[in-house]
Structure formats: structure tokens, C-alpha cells
């Protein structure tokens, strides 16, 4: 008999809708929906998708515990042998949901869990320890490659076959250490590596050091009443019409806009350039993302010294880490130059 697999996808891949439907509550359907077809083809009859869970990305992200428990209850009666989520490519909320569900299912049912993501998807860093995450390209164009790779890994796990190194199997390193037998002693291997390093030749470490990318917190603001506070956002708020054409996704630039004399953002003056969330509410009133109105009140009341005359904005939607880093570094240099004390950064 074929292995029973539950597949998790979002509202978009279920063909329910885009951002306007991202609040869609969890639902389970018998059989295959959307990208499950590609998995089915790759399973070649050895495993079968018995049901598909569908959940809106925003709903999951805003109600993680509730959504997780609801979905666990939904899939219990199917007694699945494995759980596959996505692939989510570089979609942040989707990747987070896939990772969270994989982790929860593995814990609850103790079955293999597999997802697929682009390495920069925040779901990778959060859940790679808990799930087998196949490395995929950054967009759905990579489905043809991703689905068979995920299916293949899932089948191996289902059959209890041993799983090779990340680069052999195509999954993202989970930080699992395995004991191995070598012909050569450790001391010898170590010297070999050292010599290779000295010669500038490639070598492979047997124990990678973790990379901690953390920045120490800055000291607190001491005198708020004389401080200049700047607003920065990744929520895409910009003057109406998006004059600098900041991209709706994968932004290649940020905008710097003057708000001297602006007391309130309105649907007449500002909108969002962001393509990764339902823009209705931000377009109606951009203060919901960039709180200029409240900051002006606080400035008038003397709670803060001053709201900085410019705000900075970009679209955090599939934007590469390299670009985000570049934007942040450039923005803070300008803020320091202009004598800003501290920053409020809002994200959608």
C-alpha cells in the first residue's frame, strides 16, 4: 500500500486568491490541490496525498498557535505517514507557516516532514532544525525542480533509507552531526585540511562553526524630549503614485521622502508600493503603517523633540538580504549625518 501523505499549501496555490484572501482560515480537502499534482507525479504511486490543508498566509502568521492546533486536529484522523509543506520558495509568511507546521507535525505525530524553500526565506533559519527543507529557487518558476526533489527526499525518509549530506540530497543543512568512520586519524585529516588551506586548495570542514549574525543593542535614548526620531518602514509607504517606482517585490531601492509640514498621511497624499500584503488599508490611511499623525502629536506635546523631516521606505517582499543590508547601511548613514537620535522601523 502507498504511504499516506498530507500536503500543506497556502490560499494562493489553492487558487482561492492572492493577498485579499490571505486571511483565509484553515481548511482540509480530500486528495490533491494545486502543486500536489507535481508531488503525485514524482511519487510514482509509492506515496499518495490523502488530503490537502489550505491556510491563508496572513491568517497563519497572525494566529500561529491557533492555526497550528486546528490543523493538527484536522489531519489526525488521516493517520498520515508523512507531511509535506509548500514549496514556499522565497515567500516569507508562507515559509514560516510551512516550517511551523512541519515542526508541529513532527512533534505531534513523529513522522517525516519535508518542505522546500529558498535559503533566504525566514522560515529556513527558524525551522531548519525541525524539518527537512529542500533548497529551491526563489520563485514558483522553480516548481518543476522543487517538487520532485521534495518527493524524492520524502520517499527516502518514508522507506527509512539513510539520508546523505545536505549537498548530496539537496536539503538545507539542519545542524545534525553524524558519527562517521574514516581510514585516516583525525589528526591526519586535520593536518591535511590545514595544508590544503595554506595552498589555497578547497577542503571541507567536518564541523562547521555556527554563524551568529547579531548586533549589540544600542544604549537607550536618555532625553526623549530633545531627541529627533526618524520613521523607516519596509511596508512600502510612499507619496501617492510611487514616484520613484519602488518595486512591489524584490525591491532594488529605497525612497527618501520629505514630510516637513505633513501632519497626517491620507489616501490623497500617500499609498503603499508593497505587493506582498493586501494594500487596501494602507492605501486608505498610510498612518496605519507609518504613524506620522501620532508622531506629530507627540512632537507638538513635547514628548519627543522632533520628528525627522524625512522618512525612509522600501518594500520588504522577497527583497534579498543583501539589498536590505545595503539599504539599512545607507539609510543609517544619512540619519546620523542629519543628527537623528533614534529610529522607529515598522514592518508589515
Amino acid at each position: 500500500m502507498a504511504f499516506k501523505v498530507i500536503h500543506y499549501i497556502n490560499q494562493f496555490y489553492a487558487n482561492i486568491g492572492g493577498e485579499e484572501k490571505a486571511d483565509y482560515k484553515p481548511e482540509i480537502r480530500e486528495g490533491i490541490v494545486g502543486p500536489g499534482m507535481a508531488l503525485k507525479a514524482a511519487f510514482k504511486g509509492e506515496a499518495e496525498i490523502v488530503a490537502t490543508v489550505i491556510c491563508g498566509d496572513s491568517y497563519f502568521a497572525s494566529n500561529m498557535d491557533e492555526a497550528t492546533n486546528t490543523i493538527l486536529d484536522m489531519i489526525r484522523k488521516y493517520e498520515p505517514d508523512a507531511f509535506i509543506a509548500g514549496p514556499a520558495f522565497n515567500a516569507g509568511r508562507y515559509g514560516t507557516a510551512c516550517g511551523a507546521m512541519c515542526a508541529a507535525v513532527a512533534k505531534e505525530f513523529n513522522i517525516p516532514v519535508v518542505s522546500g524553500m529558498y535559503p533566504e526565506n525566514p522560515g529556513v533559519e527558524m525551522y531548519k532544525k525541525f524539518a527537512w527543507i529542500v533548497e529551491t529557487p526563489d520563485s514558483a518558476i522553480g516548481m518543476r525542480k522543487a517538487a520532485p526533489a521534495m518527493a524524492k527526499l520524502a520517499l527516502k525518509l518514508l522507506k527509512g533509507e539513510s539520508i546523505g549530506k545536505p549537498e548530496e540530497e539537496g536539503y538545507i543543512e539542519r545542524g545534525i552531526r553524524k558519527n562517521m568512520f574514516y581510514e585516516k586519524l583525525a589528526a591526519e585529516r586535520c593536518v591535511d585540511m590545514f595544508i590544503a588551506k595554506l595552498k589555497g586548495e578547497p577542503f571541507e570542514t567536518e564541523y562547521k562553526m555556527p554563524v551568529f549574525d547579531r548586533v549589540d543593542p544600542q544604549p537607550a535614548v536618555k532625553d526623549l524630549a530633545h531627541a529627533t526620531i526618524a520613521l523607516v518602514t519596509s511596508g512600502g509607504i510612499c507619496p501617492k503614485g510611487n514616484p520613484d517606482h519602488i518595486e512591489a517585490s524584490s525591491a532594488s531601492k529605497f525612497g527618501e521622502y520629505d514630510i516637513t509640514g505633513v501632519n497626517d498621511l491620507t489616501s490623497e497624499t500617500h499609498c503603499t508600493a508593497h505587493g506582498g500584503y493586501d494594500a487596501t488599508y494602507a492605501d486608505q490611511d498610510a498612518d496605519r503603517v507609518l504613524p506620522v499623525d501620532v508622531m506629530r502629536d507627540l512632537e507638538r506635546e513635547g514628548v519627543i523633540g522632533k520628528l525627522h523631516t524625512k522618512f525612509y521606505t522600501t518594500v520588504g517582499n522577497g527583497t534579498s538580504v543583501a539589498n536590505a543590508k545595503k539599504f539599512g547601511a545607507e539609510i543609517v548613514n544619512r540619519l546620523v549625518r542629519d543628527g537623528v537620535t533614534a529610529v522607529i522601523l515598522t514592518s508589515t
Partner: protein, 76 residues
């Protein structure tokens, strides 16, 4: 972005998906209302909404005035 800013200026990250902010490495975090309207709530009247927004911004300012040694989520 938040980390690059923190290298030179104190910064508070206001966002709805707190686990992502923590993973990225923001130090001062204030949870917000919802992804498409972090600092608003369209089900409320504009007046109520502004009061809500002010409360969250005041929390962010409090976070900026608090010395911390590790990642801190400010929920009040």
C-alpha cells in the same frame, strides 16, 4: 535593515510577525496589530484607531528609552 541601523543608532522594530523579527535579529521589538495594518485597525472608528496607534508608538518610545542587553519584546 534593522540590524544595519542598530550598528549606529538605537532602533525599535514594530511588526506583527515577532518570530521573524527575532530570527532576523532585531533587539527592541514591539508587536503590532496585523500584517496589512500594523498600526491601525479598520474595524474601529478613526478616533479609536488613533488612540490605539498612539499606545503602540508610546510603547515603541518606551522601548527606545529602555537599556537592554538582549533581544526584548515589549508587550506593555
Amino acid at each position: 535593515m534593522v540590524k544595519e541601523i542598530e550598528r549606529k543608532l538605537p532602533v525599535v522594530h514594530m511588526c506583527t510577525i515577532v518570530p521573524i523579527s527575532q530570527t532576523v535579529g532585531a533587539n527592541r521589538i514591539v508587536p503590532t496589530i496585523a500584517i496589512p495594518h500594523p498600526l491601525g485597525d479598520p474595524t474601529k472608528t478613526p478616533e479609536e484607531e488613533k488612540i490605539l496607534r498612539r499606545k503602540l508608538v508610546e510603547r515603541a518610545l518606551k522601548a527606545l528609552q529602555t537599556d537592554i542587553t538582549e533581544q526584548t519584546v515589549f508587550t506593555e
